[in-house]
Amino acid sequence: MTEEIIIAGFGGQGVLSMGKILAYSGIMQDQEVSWMPSYGPEMRGGTANVTVILSDDRISSPVLKKFDTAIILNQQSMDKFESDIKPGGTLLYDPNGITRHPERDDINIYKIPGAALAAEMGNPKTFNMIILGGFLNVKPIVKIENVKKGLEKSLPERHHKLIPLNIEAIQKGIDSVETVVAL
């Protein structure tokens, strides 16, 4: 199994840490992983994206042009990455702020109202975990227990009390995916 994922959005949306937790979860189930951010100029702000790969085998390129899955969280990223999904691949997006919805018909497309749900949960920081949950619904490549272990490993001890909230958010995400196109 090899899953090549791009996660893309705004700087503050927790894109990088979502990728990191996913990668850590992969390690917890003994997979090879890579996490490759695009790092911007020596300045603040702007967009952020990260390529995450989980595989049972040694990972070749951490930098990819084509992805199995794209998780897209703003319009700019939609414009940039929609065409980079492999035919038959998967696109998951949060419609919030999206002005031009995806147009391809050779991929699976899912929606998840992450921003809305995070607001509902009263904690905008749960946003990225909700999205992660959405992803795990359509591609259950890591087990929730391994995500939990990943969180334990990656969060500093003093933040461990937040793990239940995170798991709750992931569960919410799992439950909230809407299929747009299923091949």
Binding site: E42, M43, R44, G45
Partner: protein
């Protein structure tokens, strides 16, 4: 007359009292919200406009957050290697003695890597203006310790607070260069209030006037903020600056000859 109509009456060309100078380009500045660099850029641009020296002014930008200063002021610019702006300005001023040459440098650029260049340019008394932005941190590279970082200040390379015992005391550059006979005007200013901005403008204008009179080197330090590096909001940053920076870096003119 409703408030709105009254306002609309006021907003008319003849009542204009403050607007952006045309020496400032329309390019949106890449600086973080509240960054002092923006205010300083504006003040320099205003002085250039008022003195009508746009065609005679050459700016030398550093490596630091203000590396892209050339995107904002509509004058000729040279982008220097980290710390070396005074060397570029030296040659430029000597080769074109009728021009106004200024360097624009951060504290990392000027006080750390560029220490030798600024001291020697000051000592030689090059006919230039040095605008020195002291925000007590390396803004551009993500908030590392600078030579001017305060005792105990938390930065990316002093995560437990600067330990002056092992890294030295914050350097008072203006005090140091004011001792060198080559400097004619050394002043420390700030830019957090309207009054401070007005004073700063006078200082910068005096610097350029010194250039015109071939008086030698004018050194204008501006104590500023870096909200991103300090991890405070812009307004909190100003408060922190007043509380912590001003006592250590007292404002005022150290030398005016």
């Amino acid at each position: 007359m409703t408030a709105t109509t009254e306002i609309n009456n006021i907003i008319s060309e003849e009542n204009l009292v403050y607007k952006k100078t045309s020496v400032l380009l329309d390019n949106e500045m890449h600086y973080c919200p509240g960054c002092t660099h923006g205010v300083i850029h504006k003040v320099i641009a205003e002085v250039i406009e008022e003195m009508d020296i746009q065609d005679k002014t050459i700016g030398v930008s550093p490596v630091g957050c203000s590396v892209l200063a050339y995107n904002y002021l509509d004058i000729d610019w040279q982008q220097a290697a980290h710390g070396r702006a005074p060397a570029l300005a030296t040659a430029t001023a000597r080769l074109m003695p009728d021009k106004y040459v200024f360097t624009y440098q951060g504290d990392g650029d000027l006080a750390s890597i560029g220490c030798a260049e600024i001291i020697h340019a000051c000592n030689r008394g090059e006919n230039i203006v040095v605008v020195f932005v002291n925000n007590a941190i390396y803004g551009m590279t993500g908030g590392q310790m600078a030579p001017t970082t305060l005792d105990g200040q938390v930065t990316a390379t002093s995560p437990y607070g600067r330990d002056c015992g092992s890294t030295g005391a914050p350097m008072k550059i203006s005090e140091m260069v004011s001792l060198l006979p080559g400097t004619r005007f050394v002043t420390r200013q700030s830019a957090e209030t309207a009054g401070a901005v007005r004073k700063l403008k006078k200082a910068i204008r005096k610097g350029f006037e010194n250039t015109r009179e071939k008086k030698g080197l004018s050194f204008i330090e501006i104590v500023g903020t870096c909200s991103s590096g300090w991890k405070l909001s812009p307004t909190q940053s100003n408060e922190w600056m007043k509380e912590n920076m001003f006592p250590y870096y007292p404002l005022g003119t150290l030398k005016d000859e």
